[in-house]
């Protein structure tokens, strides 16, 4: 079976993954792995998580046939997996809910997290409020400006938001600071990592918690249509929503899986975050995977209109899925994403997160050239309210 038993010992997906972290954190990572494996086997833990997902997060999320959009395109039927309808407005809470319960089990009192678009920060601040943790969120200073609505949300939820002024002042730098905080406060602090990157066991934990998306999707499409979709499309920054929806379809080889990276101003512009398309393997933030870097191994400055995709690395399992050819990784530019954002808004009355709009771009491309009896599922990983202001102001255009 594809990916069965993965990751292997030490957190490896074939040659990708691992645990490249300072010694100070190694015992904490081992403790986390042990605690997680125990929790997985504990019926109390899985029952609590299921309870919160249903009664607090609002799962299962809908699988919505986007009939007007499909008709407008005149091709395959597009289905939207509505992760935007979760409490807090994105898929991120699937992960934070599970990890916060794990942190509680481990007796930690303080949650820290990095955030790009602010969706993971909001989802972390939310569960911290719900379960009574102290909470500190690191966010690149540039992102605090372009996503200031989310900064206010986190503060209202009782979290402290620390703007990170180093480097490119985006997600990568927020992650550096979160790691530095964890190294310094490892005794009482749980690092609630938001994506499928980072050192083992995070890529495994976050994947497992996000596969609820794919499991529901698979069941819902079978109930709705009696068969599996022809393609499943998701945007890929670090890759958590994508791995979450892809994973339960990995063995269904007739289902095309497509990851969409942020093409920024174009793959040849040097201003993009298309890590798998344009990067090389290396080590960043604790795992060996594709990264955008220069010849000396220094991490590149990246760009995307979508702060949640604006990251020079990608989860190691995606690197593996790319190498074995099970997932095709393509990209969408800023302006294509913007166009898809508008298209979904006026055909379906749904404002997608600008991150998720990248997945829509590819779904539109694919569906347009496919016959009407084919089906494409898009992971609509988040809602677009947070992006309204920056989209209205994009390149001085006014809607």
């Amino acid at each position: 079976m594809l990916n069965s038993g993965m990751p292997a010992k030490g957190g490896y997906f074939d040659k990708y993954g691992g645990r490249f972290m300072p010694e100070t954190l190694m015992p904490a990572l081992q403790e986390l792995e042990t605690a997680y494996l125990e929790a997985q086997k504990d019926k109390g833990f899985t029952r609590d998580l299921a309870w919160y997902l249903k009664n607090y997060v609002g799962r299962p999320s809908l699988l919505y046939p986007a009939q007007r959009l499909s008709k407008y395109l005149g091709g395959a039927q597009i289905y939207l997996k509505r992760e935007d309808l979760n409490h807090t407005g994105s898929h991120k809470i699937n992960n934070t809910m599970g990890q916060a319960l794990l942190a509680q089990r481990m007796g930690k009192t303080r949650l820290i997290a990095e955030t790009g678009a602010g969706q993971h920060g909001v989802a972390t601040a939310t569960v911290a409020a719900l379960l009574g943790f102290e909470c500190v969120i690191y966010m690149g200073e540039e992102d605090t400006v372009r996503q200031h609505l989310n900064v206010s949300r986190m503060k209202l939820l009782g979290a402290e938001v620390i703007p990170v002024k180093s480097g490119s002042r985006t997600l990568k730098d927020a992650m550096n600071e979160a790691i530095r905080d964890w190294v310094s406060n490892v005794d009482n602090t749980y690092y609630l990592l938001g994506s499928v990157g980072g050192p083992h066991p995070y890529p495994m934990i976050v994947r497992d918690l996000q596969t609820v998306i794919g499991r529901e999707t698979r069941q819902q499409i079978l109930e709705l249509t009696g068969r599996l979709p022809d393609a499943v499309v998701a945007c890929v920054g670090g890759g958590s929503n994508a791995i979450g929806i892809f994973h339960p379809f990995l063995q269904d080889i007739e289902v095309q899986l497509v990851g969409v990276e942020a093409g920024g101003e174009g793959l040849d512009s040097g201003r993009h975050s298309a890590t798998i398309n344009k990067g090389r393997p290396g080590v960043l933030h604790g795992s060996f995977s594709y990264i955008l870097q220069d010849i000396e191994g220094q991490i590149s400055e990246v760009h995307s209109i979508a702060p949640g995709l604006d990251y020079p690395g990608v989860g190691p399992e995606h690197a593996y899925l790319k190498d074995i050819g099970r997932v095709r990784y393509t990209s969408a530019t800023d302006s294509e994403a913007l166009e898809a954002f508008r298209l979904l808004s006026f055909t379906e009355g749904i404002l997608p997160a600008i991150e998720s709009a990248h997945a829509l771009v590819e779904a539109v491309r694919m569906a347009s050239s496919m016959p009407a009896d084919k089906m494409v599922v898009v992971n609509l990983s988040g809602r677009g309210d947070k992006d309204v202001e920056s989209i209205v102001q994009y390149k001085g255009e006014h809607i």
Partner: protein, 259 residues
């Protein structure tokens, strides 16, 4: 016994403790960096650690982050820093250790890097984001090119980990004095006596304590628990202000406190 181990053991048997100084290679530029190395050696550094700058130094505090940025902004790279070390090697005999995050070395090529480091007169390496579990490949090449791969241990390191880490250690054991990033600290709460006696149960190699050493007084406090003291941020702060004479003086004063 490696040159590094021998140097530290000889110091201890003559009744003093070693001083290991850190500088970021290429900060603020290669030419100044060479002068800084020579000046550290002259001021009594027993081992010099030369950092390769990295864009995302997660184990470092603000002072060394800033040094990395300055060096990178001025075009420092592994190749030019190794060349600088080769130039310094013509004039000084003190052991030299490279401190680098893993990715720049990985991209250089592990074997190629070790070969060039040895040819440049480097004696050892410290890689803060390469824990024991991930270090096998580099250890093989390091041994082949007679470079000591010096491991770090922390107050959080368990006895089980200490045992395996020490079993493959070379040069000395780098004891991180606090759970945290590099940088000068007002207080160190770690029980250094306990840390050091625990580590010594697993190794005969010299112990060096680093992180948070601000000056002679702190170095003197730490000396009873180790064979050498590592000073980084306090010196790099002076380098940042281009106070090279003060940097040399601080090195001399700390060394004096260890005699």
């Amino acid at each position: 016994m490696s040159i590094i181990t021998e140097r530290l053991k000889n110091l201890v048997s003559s009744g003093e403790k070693g001083l290991i100084t850190y500088m970021t290679g290429g900060d603020p530029d290669i030419k100044s960096s060479l002068k800084i190395m020579l000046s550290m050696a002259k001021a009594g550094a027993d081992i010099i650690e030369v950092g390769l700058p990295f864009s995302d130094p997660v184990a470092d505090g603000p002072v060394i982050q800033a040094a990395s940025n300055r060096a990178l902004a001025n075009g420092a790279a592994a190749g030019s820093i190794l060349q600088m070390i080769a130039d310094a090697r013509q004039e000084i005999s003190v052991p030299i250790v490279i401190m680098s995050y893993y990715n720049p070395i990985l991209q250089f090529g592990l074997q190629e890097f070790c070969a060039q480091a040895q040819a440049s007169g480097v004696n050892g390496m410290i890689i803060p984001d390469l824990p024991y579990e991930e270090s096998e490949m580099l250890r093989i090449y390091a041994d082949e090119y007679q470079l000591d791969l010096i491991p770090m241990v922390a107050p959080t390191t368990t006895p089980e980990r200490l045992e395996v880490i020490c079993s493959s250690a070379r040069g000395f054991i780098y004891c991180v004095s606090v759970a945290g990033v590099t940088g000068v600290r007002e207080h160190i709460e770690t029980d250094l006596n306990l840390l050091s006696s625990t580590v010594r149960r697993y190794t005969d190699l010299p112990l060096a304590i680093g992180f948070g050493v601000s000056g002679p007084a702190r170095a003197r406090d730490m000396a009873p628990f180790c064979d050498a003291v590592i000073v980084g941020s306090a010196l790099v702060e002076l380098i940042a202000e281009q106070k090279y004479k003060e940097m040399e003086k601080l090195t001399e004063d700390i060394k004096a406190a260890l005699r």
